[in-house]
C-alpha cells in the first residue's frame, strides 16, 4: 500500500533503494551522505531489505566492490559525496566502458580546500566526462522517484550504463518533506528483474575489461558515446511509464515552467529551481514575461530540448553552482554549445558556491541582467551573484 511519510532527501533515497531491492550495497560514510547508508543498514538489520551490505575501507574500494558485484550480474547500489566521489574518480571510468548499470547517489558538496561540507556541484560536474548518466533532483519526492526510474533506465538493454543521481547537500539531503512512498508490488511491476547482457559466470566464461590496444579502443569509446545518445528516448519513455504507474511526471531531460510566452528565461538545476520558480511567479505578477527551464540531466545533455524550449526567448541565463576556474560554469558551457549560432544572447550566473544561500532576490537579480541583455545592452558573459562587498 502506498504510504505518505515525512522524509529527508537522504531518507527518500534510502526508501527508493529499498523498493528497488539491490542485491549488493558497498558503502562508506561521508557527510552529507551518511544518513543514506545508516538508513539502509537499519532496513537490512530489521529484515526489511535483503541485501549484502559491505562496509568498505574507502569510497575507492566501495566503487571497486560495486564493479565486482555488478559484473556478476546483480543489481548494485552505492552512494557518496564530494571527496568520496573524487576518491572514486579512477573507478568511475570503468562501469560505463564495461556496461555495468550501477546506481550511485551523490549528495552534492563542495570539494577541495576549506573543508566545505555544503552544497556545490563541482564534485559531480567534474565527473561529467566519465560516461555516467547524471541527473539532479529538486525535492525528496523526486529523489525517491528517480532512484526507481534510474534503475529502469540504466538496466534497459538499449542503455546499460551506470547512473549518478545527485541531490543537494543539506538543502535537500537533510530537509524533511512530504513524500509518497510507493507500494513494493507497484515498484516490482514497474522495475523488472535485472537481466544482464554479459556477466562473470564459470558456466559461460568471459574476460571482462582486458587490455585494449589503439586498434580497438577508439571504437569502444565511440560506442559508449552512441550508447549515451541512445539513453535519451529511453529517459522520456521511462518518465511516461512512471507517470502512468505512479501519477508523477518529471519531464525527462528538462522540465519547463511558464515558458510559453517567455521573453527571458533562466536555466536552473537542483533545489535552486524551487526558489527560482518563486522569483518567476513574482516577476510574472509584475507583468514581466519570464520563464524557467529546469535542467534534470547533465548527461545525456538535452541539447535539442533546450534549443526547442528557448527558440522564442530574447535572452537566456544559466545558473551555475560550480565553476571551471578561469572558464565558466559547466552548465553554461554546455548550453552555449547547444545554442551556438542561434543568436540568442546567453549569460552565465554563478551563485550559491560553497553552499551560500540562494534567495528569491538572487534570481530576480539574474533576471534583471537578462532584461538588459534582451534589450540589446552588452552585459558580462559571467556574473557572480551574492559576493560579499566589492571584489
Amino acid at each position: 500500500m502506498r504510504s505518505v511519510k515525512a522524509l529527508t532527501g537522504n531518507a527518500a533515497a534510502a526508501y527508493g533503494v529499498m523498493l528497488c531491492r539491490p542485491e549488493v550495497i558497498p558503502n562508506y560514510p561521508i557527510t552529507p551522505q551518511t544518513i543514506i547508508i545508516e538508513q539502509i543498514a537499519d532496513f537490512i538489520n530489521d529484515g526489511e531489505l535483503d541485501a549484502d551490505f559491505i562496509p568498505a575501507d574507502s569510497e575507492h574500494s566501495a566503487m571497486s566492490m560495486a564493479i565486482g558485484a555488478s559484473a556478476t550480474g546483480v543489481r548494485t547500489f552505492t552512494t557518496t559525496a564530494s571527496q568520496g566521489l573524487a576518491l572514486m574518480h579512477e573507478m568511475l571510468y570503468v562501469p560505463p566502458q564495461v556496461r555495468l548499470p550501477i546506481l550511485l547517489v551523490n549528495v552534492n558538496r563542495s570539494l577541495g580546500a576549506g573543508s566545505g561540507i555544503w552544497v556545490e556541484y563541482n564534485d559531480s560536474m567534474a565527473e561529467r566526462d566519465s560516461g555516467w548518466m547524471q541527473a539532479y533532483a529538486e525535492d525528496s519526492q523526486e529523489v525517491l522517484d528517480m532512484v526507481i526510474q534510474a534503475y529502469r533506465i540504466a538496466e534497459d538493454p538499449r542503455v546499460v550504463l551506470p547512473f549518478m543521481l545527485c541531490l543537494d547537500g543539506f538543502i535537500l539531503s537533510h530537509t524533511v518533506e512530504r513524500v509518497e512512498v510507493p507500494d513494493q508490488e507497484e515498484v516490482d511491476s514497474f522495475l523488472p528483474k535485472f537481466k544482464p547482457l554479459n556477466r562473470l559466470d564459470p558456466k559461460d566464461p568471459m574476460s571482462i575489461n582486458i587490455a585494449v590496444s589503439p586498434a580497438h579502443s577508439m571504437e569502444m569509446r565511440y560506442q559508449l558515446d552512441r550508447q549515451m545518445a541512445n539513453a535519451r528516448p529511453v529517459i522520456s519513455e521511462v518518465d511516461d511509464l512512471f507517470a502512468k504507474a505512479f501519477g508523477r511526471r518529471y519531464g525527462g531531460l528538462i522540465d519547463t515552467y511558464r515558458m510559453e510566452d517567455a521573453e527571458t528565461a533562466l536555466i536552473t538545476i537542483g533545489t535552486a529551481t524551487s526558489t527560482a520558480r518563486v522569483a518567476v511567479d513574482e516577476l510574472r505578477s509584475e507583468g514581466k514575461k519570464v520563464g524557467l527551464i529546469k535542467l534534470r540531466f547533465m548527461r545525456p545533455f538535452p541539447h535539442e530540448e533546450i534549443r526547442k524550449a528557448v527558440k522564442n526567448v530574447k535572452a537566456l541565463g544559466v545558473f551555475d553552482r560550480s565553476i571551471s576556474v578561469n572558464g565558466f560554469g559547466p552548465v553554461f558551457t554546455e548550453v552555449r554549445n547547444s545554442l551556438y549560432g542561434s543568436g540568442i544572447p546567453i549569460t552565465d550566473h554563478i551563485a550559491g558556491i560553497g553552499g551560500r544561500d540562494l534567495k528569491v532576490a538572487t534570481f530576480k537579480e539574474m533576471f534583471s541582467v537578462l532584461d538588459q541583455s534582451a534589450s540589446g545592452k552588452k552585459v558580462r558573459d559571467c556574473t557572480w551573484h551574492g559576493l560579499r562587498g566589492e571584489m
Binding site: 549488493v24 549484502d52 574507502s58 565486482g68 558485484a69 550480474g73
Partner: protein
C-alpha cells in the same frame, strides 16, 4: 585417508593456457599456472594492473584464462574480489573467487583494500605473486624490494647504491587480523606449494597466499636460474616457508643449515654492485629473521651483529 596432493596427482587441466605472453623463466607464470590447475574451472579471477594482466589477461581479443576474468585498476584487488564474491553469493553460486596481485599491488598501493578484505574475513583467496619490484613498469622499487637491490628508482649511483630500506614483512601485516589461512609458497617446493593451494581452496574465509616469484628480467638473472633462485632464497633465509592457521604458525620446510646470502646474491645482476658492508648488513638482517622464524623460543639476541654466525642452523649460541 586420502593421500596429500602432490605434483604427480595434482589436476593437470590448465586454466592459464599455453600461448600466454610471459617472459622466459617467469616465476609468476609458473605460480599462477599451478594455482589455476588446483582451483579448477569453477573459479573467477581478478587481476589488477601487473605483468599478469598483460601476459595472462591478455590484449583484446586474446586472453589466456579460460575461466571468468576481470580487471579494473591497480589498488583495489581486495575490494573487487569482495564484490565479486558478494554477487555470486546473492545468486547462490558457490564459486572460488581469487585475486592475484603483484608486490606493488599488494605491499604498497593495494594494502588498504587488502586489509579491508582481511578485516571483513571475506570468503576469497588473495594471492600475492612477489617479484620484489614494479616489474610491469620496468623495475621500480616497491615495499618488497630487498636491501641493497638495484632498481630503476634505487639506482647504483656514485653516492647511493641500491635500496636502503628492508623488505616489508607483509605476512605480519596480513596475519595481524583474524583470517582463515595465510601461507608463504615457493615454486622450488612444489609439493608444499600445491598442498597449500589445495588447503586454501577447501577453507572458507579470507585466505592469503604469498608466493615468491623470481623475475629474470628485473633481477638480471638467467631465465634458466628461476628454480635455483627460488630454492636458494629459502636456503639462505631470504624467503621462508610456513603457514598460519587460526593464528598458529607452522614451519612447512626447514632448511638443514643457513647458506650464506652471497650464494643467492651472486646469481643476480641486481645485487652485483653491493659492497661487503652492505652484504653484511643484509646478512645480519637475515640472521635476525632466521632466528625469529626458526627458533622463536630462543632468548632475545645479544651482542654484536658480527657474532651472528651462519653455517649452522642459526640457533646455536642464542
Amino acid at each position: 585417508m586420502d593421500r596429500k596432493m602432490n605434483i604427480r596427482n595434482m589436476p593437470s587441466q590448465d586454466h592459464l593456457l599455453c600461448g600466454q605472453g610471459a617472459c622466459a623463466g617467469c616465476g609468476v607464470a609458473i605460480a599462477v599456472r599451478n594455482i589455476m590447475r588446483i582451483l579448477g574451472e569453477n573459479t573467477t579471477v581478478y587481476v589488477p594492473a601487473s605483468c599478469l594482466l598483460i601476459f595472462g589477461g591478455g590484449m583484446y581479443p586474446h586472453s589466456a584464462f579460460d575461466v571468468p576474468f576481470l580487471y579494473s585498476a591497480f589498488e583495489n584487488t581486495g575490494a573487487v574480489i569482495s564484490g565479486i564474491k558478494a554477487g555470486y553469493r546473492r545468486q547462490g553460486k558457490d564459486v572460488t573467487v581469487i585475486g592475484i596481485a603483484g608486490d606493488g599491488g599488494t605491499f604498497d598501493i593495494g594494502l588498504q583494500a587488502l586489509a579491508g578484505a582481511a578485516e571483513r574475513n571475506e570468503d576469497v583467496i588473495y594471492v600475492c605473486v612477489d617479484n620484489e619490484a614494479y616489474m610491469n613498469t620496468g623495475t621500480q622499487r616497491s615495499g618488497s624490494t630487498p636491501f641493497g637491490a638495484w632498481t630503476t628508482t634505487t639506482p647504483v649511483g656514485k653516492k647511493i647504491k641500491g635500496k636502503r630500506g628492508f623488505k616489508k614483512d607483509l605476512m605480519s601485516v596480513v596475519t595481524s587480523q583474524d583470517i582463515a589461512y595465510a601461507a608463504t609458497l615457493s615454486i622450488a617446493h612444489m609439493n608444499d606449494f600445491v598442498q597449500k593451494v589445495e588447503k586454501a581452496k577447501n577453507l572458507k574465509g579470507f585466505r592469503f597466499l604469498h608466493v615468491m616469484t623470481p623475475c629474470a628480467s628485473g633481477w638480471k638473472s638467467d631465465p634458466s636460474a628461476t628454480f635455483d633462485l627460488a630454492n636458494m632464497a629459502v636456503e639462505t633465509g631470504m624467503w621462508s616457508l610456513y603457514e598460519v592457521v587460526d593464528g598458529e604458525v607452522s614451519i612447512t620446510y626447514r632448511p638443514k643449515e643457513m647458506r650464506p646470502v652471497t650464494e643467492y646474491l651472486k646469481l643476480q645482476g641486481r645485487f652485483k654492485h653491493m659492497s661487503k658492508e652492505d652484504v653484511d648488513t643484509l646478512q645480519s638482517w637475515i640472521c635476525k629473521k632466521w632466528n625469529k622464524r626458526y627458533c622463536p623460543t630462543a632468548p632475545p639476541l645479544e651482542g654484536k651483529e658480527d657474532d651472528l654466525a651462519y653455517g649452522g642452523d642459526g640457533c646455536e649460541g642464542v
